[in-house]
Symmetry: C2
Subunit: 313 residues, 2 copies
């Protein structure tokens, strides 16, 4: 084990154009999948890489935020950093000048995510093992020290968190087979917003053929009838045993979300994703009651652990 110190931080604005129509949804119509990449170079030549996704324009802003936020990491030994990463994360996020630009949300939070990924990557590389293996070998106390639980004290003290982790240790062996079998995935690429019906049907048939049983469809069309028609078509393609998810990408106002979710329930989705603005806590709570037993999927744009705390409450 080499305790490599971080000698420099750099970034890369990596962009990947998509084929026509791919990646489109009700609000994101011209996406170019882009990563704001953090590169942490260790003094032994190792390089930790972290990424965060954006949709093109503005990816450079996240890279610049990374360069500002990650400066305090230079000169720190990676083992020292990761032995108390919860405190380190909090300190980075609470930079006295940059905190104002969030706090803990938007571009700054995306940048912190990329930096965090790079720290974990460099740590695993310096230990010479895959990250999942490194994480599995940590004690509950070591896991706890990776986490910033500040502002959660009212619902989750450090002691509660430790107990939770310790309580899961005895059943670990029962969960290990997942390493052999993996988690089932779903196909999100059959149902982009700009695809016509024929393309959706073709792609679904191909995905079914290659073994997929779960599919996501973008909803939130200008023409609401189109959403219903596409949902019916996809349900017909995958049969009663297939699993469907619908994703509105925040498009609907709350009244429209209630109405559309009720109509879409006819097609037995497992969940409806991002039905309205991600900041509307009370709206989500109300909607969840209205459309039970269909679940709401959220989180892609819930900005931080404090908002998650409120959502759980």
């Amino acid at each position: 084990m080499l305790d490599s110190a971080i000698s420099s931080v750099s970034t890369r604005d990596a962009r990947f154009p998509l084929p026509p129509g791919a990646g489109t949804d009700s609000v994101h119509t011209n996406s170019e999948y882009s990563f704001a990449v953090t590169l942490l170079t260790g003094d032994g030549g190792l390089q930790g890489t972290g990424i965060v996704l954006t949709l093109g324009e503005g990816n450079r802003l996240v890279c610049e935020a990374i360069e500002l936020l990650a400066r305090p990491l230079v000169g720190t030994a990676i083992e020292e950093l990761m032995s108390d990463f919860g405190r380190v994360s909090r300190k980075l996020a609470d930079d006295p000048s940059l905190r104002w630009l969030g706090p803990h949300k938007g571009i700054v939070h995306l940048a912190l995510a990329s930096i965090t990924n790079a720290c974990f990557d460099l740590w695993a590389k310096s230990r010479g093992k895959p990250l999942w293996k490194l994480l599995l070998e940590l004690t509950p106390a070591e896991v706890l020290r990776l986490l910033d639980l500040s502002y959660l004290e009212d619902v989750l003290s450090e002691r509660d968190a430790l107990e939770l982790l310790v309580s899961q240790v005895p059943s670990r062996s029962r969960r290990l087979p997942i390493l052999q079998t993996g988690y089932p995935g779903y196909d999100t690429s059959v149902g982009w917003m700009a695809y016509d019906d024929e393309k959706v049907r073709d792609l679904t048939a191909r995905a079914l053929h290659s073994g997929f049983t779960a599919f996501k469809l973008k909803v939130g069309s200008e023409d609401e009838g189109r959403d219903i028609r596409r949902a019916a078509m996809l349900r017909k393609c995958v049969g009663e045993s297939g699993t469907l998810m619908f994703d509105a990408n925040q498009r609907w106002s709350l009244p429209v979300a209630i109405r559309m979710c009720r109509e879409l329930m006819d097609f037995q989705p497992l969940w409806i994703e991002e039905p309205t603005h991600p900041d509307d806590l009370h709206g989500h709570a109300l909607l969840a009651r209205e459309i039970t037993p269909v679940k709401i999927a959220a989180g892609e744009h819930i900005p931080n652990r404090i908002v998650f705390k409120n959502f759980f409450e």
Copy 2:
């Protein structure tokens, strides 16, 4: 009235160093007051200026976000823009690539605020009158068209908003004297965190002498006893008739906020500002009940109208 079209957008990263200790609070210890300035140049040579405050580092990021977000304004006539500014604001904020970086929060939201200010400034200049006068001369329907009320439909329809505006028109003449007398201000510069007791006493005495009757003190010290001592001192300086406000700048966890607010209530503050993380909706609701009748001031970091809707609920 000249219907000037916007011929270019530029920005300025304006920074103003502060004297030692000024601007310090419990989380912002090295502020340089900075403005991300939007400059909209009209084709007749007029210039609209908009600003938004940051604390130094990262001000450049807001300028760059302005340059990306404001591009669609170029070539638009200012009267056309302002005749439907609600729709324009929504369109700018929902840029298909840049929306991902918020949505509607953090750097992107700061940038939109600066752009909005510049649009209003250019509008008033092109009409050749102060903005306040321009706004007072608008009809309720024209005011409504300045606002983006999307995602508020469940609590405030356009019709409700219009009724609210119309209902205030008859009593307008009773509110006009404020134009002569102005609003009373408070002095926030007596109680910065890094100031020692002597400096706080001196500045307060001077402010009292020049007619101020209301004062803000920064709280959230590492040493909680220091907050109590400073609060007692300031109450003594301003007497029973003076008005005090305390500002913790988001420093406290919820349990600490409850305890500290209870202790600080002894000094009869009008409000306690930003006691905990600004995203903690339920935390604020709980705290407000715990410390009645003292009020909580919030909003400086509540990111957008959707979160405000939840806070009001």
